[in-house]
Point group: C2
Chain length 503, copies 2
């Protein structure tokens, strides 16, 4: 057995076993245990085979089933030992009772790690379930690493590894890693990442976490060069001391965003039935998380939005912001929200204000900051001048541009043309990209939509297109101003702390 795969079994010293994560996340070959010869089977094994092929996984795939046969053009091997090469990674999708033997077979064949998609273990709360999970744990101690059981597995776009249900996930690799016990949460985040402009380095849904789980995966991701931001949803942790030590170490290297579920009494009860972990008290968690330097968030949207901000913005804090567009009430709200989040929307320097006021339509506009452009139809070329000028105020760290595209609707109706034809969203995105390049200061876009009914799907569609243009340039987009400011505030909390420590 090569040196790098050996387990040192030194958990007592809070060290993790040596593990060849490279073979797990970027396997050259995969065995799938529990594939049916019926290619339309809805079993997890056949499903995983299908989606690995759809993802274009470039390595070798070996379906395994005692019954043999073939599926989707691949030979089904009756036994692991019949596979003609040493396999790096295994997907185990056999019924719970058969999992320990399948895992033994993988261990004996020199597999580095396996994801166990099957459920029917500790999460059932039955003695049989717990015993099966103990057996898994015992086997891993002898030299194979396990993700799961009761999980959706690993998604790694660079290698083409995908999790359940899995098809249709992006193959673009990015800088965000995501960890979750919950497979549903992982899958939803993988999909939301697509339109939010978040690309992932690695995503691990570890379910019951019989072996690999939060602390050790954090330790790995903190050292992983592909990962610049670590985002996680956890319901319960196994070993508090080790977890907080790893969390602190990881947060010292890169931002860690954490959404802790199960903080309430009922939530903890619900956690027990979901992934067989323990919850915990909200106050204790908040205070401990603060000490680690990790960023705590309180719902899925906040988690994803913070991840987008950390992933796409420069690695620094942004205390003073300019807000352009959106109209009076949105500007007023911007100031209130910014103050609530420890940020400022300072009045622009008077010479800059004068230059901006000379460009904007009168009356109704204001260049004070927020800059009220008075009219939702102001041309991108004018908005560019406003953004270029506002960025010249040296206090301004970041700009937010709010576009109410749905206000073009009356004109689309009046002239009888599709709204996407009259909204210059491509030019606007180009202009914003230009401004970022020329000024070196980030711009964040906000695209609210007050018109989301079935008869206004053209507006919803237009906004989705504009968002796509923005995120393809790495410009973060939010639905609402308060979401944008809250996400930026998380970035400020994390980098502000580091900037203070440096002083």
């Amino acid at each position: 057995m090569p040196e790098e795969r050996k387990h040192r079994g030194n958990r007592g010293n809070n060290r993790f076993p040596d593990t060849d994560f490279e073979r797990i996340f970027h396997p050259a070959s995969i065995a799938i245990l529990g594939v049916s010869s019926d290619e339309n089977s809805v079993g997890f094994g056949t499903g995983m085979l299908r989606v690995l092929k759809e993802m274009g996984f470039a390595g070798r795939i070996y379906p395994v089933n005692p019954s043999g046969g073939s599926v989707l053009g691949l030979k089904i091997y009756s036994r692991m030992e019949d596979i003609p090469e040493r396999v790096d990674f295994a997907v185990i999708a056999v019924t719970a009772k058969l999992v320990p033997q399948a895992l033994e077979d993988c261990l004996r064949s020199g597999v580095a790690g396996a994801e166990i998609l099957s459920s029917g273990f500790g999460e059932l709360g039955t003695q049989e379930g717990r015993q099966l999970e103990d057996q898994i744990r015992e086997i891993t101690a002898r030299g194979i690493r396990v993700v799961g059981p009761n999980c959706f597995g690993i998604y790694c776009p660079r290698s083409g590894l995908t999790m359940l249900p899995g098809q249709d996930l992006s193959r673009e690799s990015g800088n965000v890693a995501f960890l979750a016990q919950s497979g549903g949460m992982a899958s939803d985040f993988a999909h939301a990442g697509e339109w939010m402009g978040i690309r992932f380095s690695k995503m691990v849904s570890f379910g019951n976490g019989a072996d690999l789980r939060e602390a050790e995966l954090l330790n790995y991701l903190a050292r992983d060069h592909e990962t610049e931001v670590i985002s996680m949803y956890i319901e319960g942790i196994k070993d508090g001391d080790v977890f907080f030590r790893e969390l602190k170490a990881a947060a010292a290297r890169k931002p860690v965003i954490i959404f802790k579920g199960g903080l309430s009494a009922a939530g903890a009860r619900s956690v027990a039935s979901h992934t067989a972990s323990m919850g915990g008290s909200g106050l204790i968690w908040s205070s401990v998380l603060k000490q680690t330097g990790a960023v705590q968030v309180f719902d899925t949207q906040e988690l994803m939005q913070a991840s987008a901000a950390f992933s796409l913005l420069p690695k620094k804090s942004f205390r003073n912001i300019a807000v352009i567009g959106g109209g009076g009430a949105i500007g007023v709200a911007a100031c209130d929200i910014a103050e609530r989040h420890g940020m400022e929307i300072p009045p622009l320097a008077s010479d800059i204000r004068e230059r901006i006021e000379a460009i904007l339509p009168r009356p109704g506009s204001s260049a004070l900051n927020p800059v009220d452009v008075a009219n939702p139809l102001v041309a991108p070329s004018i908005l560019k001048e406003v953004l270029m000028n506002a960025a010249q105020d040296e206090r301004i760290d970041l700009q937010i541009i709010v576009s109410l595209f749905f206000h073009y609707n009356p004109y689309a109706l009046m002239f009888g043309v599709p709204i996407a034809e009259i909204v210059p969203y491509k030019e606007l995105v180009e202009v914003v990209g230009d401004v970022i390049n020329k000024t070196g200061k980030p711009v964040v876009a906000v695209l609210p939509n007050a018109r989301r009914g079935p008869r206004n799907m053209d507006i919803t569609g237009l906004i989705a297109l504009a968002r796509q243009e923005y995120v393809q340039r790495g410009i973060p987009v939010f639905d609402e101003l308060h979401e944008a400011i809250r996400a930026i505030a998380h970035v400020n909390t994390y980098y502000g702390r580091r900037e203070n420590e440096k002083r």
Copy 2:
């Protein structure tokens, strides 16, 4: 001058002048001052004429312009006094300098009230602007009421009165009134109301509020039989004592939801340039609002979502809720969010749990509450049984059903059919409607969407259709569980207080 239109001018006693609001909100005839004979004019007067016709306003419309002529099949009157009947309501859209004379003309012709759409008054911060606004105020003291200036006007679906930009607003009347200085906010809310299931009794955007504004309109709406919920966005108030007295009186009769903008220093500065009002300190506002019994919210989404909950739910509090569907992590989050908002998701009675567990697919399901249905594809007929059973637990006040329709997408792709064809959303909505009728306990729907990119517009479209089905039955729908729970919590705060007072 008929008795009901006389002004008593007793503001000194904190009483409001007698006003015939019926003639203002349900006018039999409208004069529009400042209509161009060019029907494609982008002026506010011509715009308002167009949208009043599109809304199907059933009364008489009299365009007015010294140049005479005709537009859109209507004669343009040169002077107010030429109009052959007493006009109830006037729209004034002439240039600021000409507004006082136009208003004088309306007063002399016996008009009950006018909305002044023109800007160029106090909001400019110039002496000329302030003087023009003082002139308006002086004229109103002699017997005509004014909404504005610098506003989008009045929307009243029952009478067909609409505000700017105005076309395409619902003609269905409902139980929510909305007040705002900001026209943009009013217009956005009017449109969002359509897909959120909120129908309006009256909406008033009063801009600078030279005459009619927050306190007096509250006083009117508190007594208005069409209005059951009052929702408002205000940036500044004119007379704190009077406002808080009216707010308290209104909140004693019906829920008043208030979003106060301009609480921060920068926000107050921004308010000054937006609608010429004064802001105020956040802490003082929160404590004073609490005393009045009004419900304070902190952003537009929260305002609209709370309005939907108050409008569509029974008039009581809902402390104990059941959450059905959505999967493990969502259930865990539900408990945490509920606790944060003073609500409970109690375990269901054991006999009810057993009945539910007998129906649900195994393994992976849990009937503890939240009820994890284990599979996003569970049929409406099964969900109906779950909902019917859970409602039998006498502690349960309200149920939330979470549907992750986007999880059908892999199956739509696999079978090559549009997602709307395989998601049984109509049956589901019918089933939920049935459950509400049979159990007498409300159900709230949550329809998250993790897949909002341009290539998944079919999913976004499906969810919009499902939302429409729900709201057409008066069932509130939210994008996210935390939004649903926060909105219900506002209902609890309001009715819980009243229920406690009764004890």
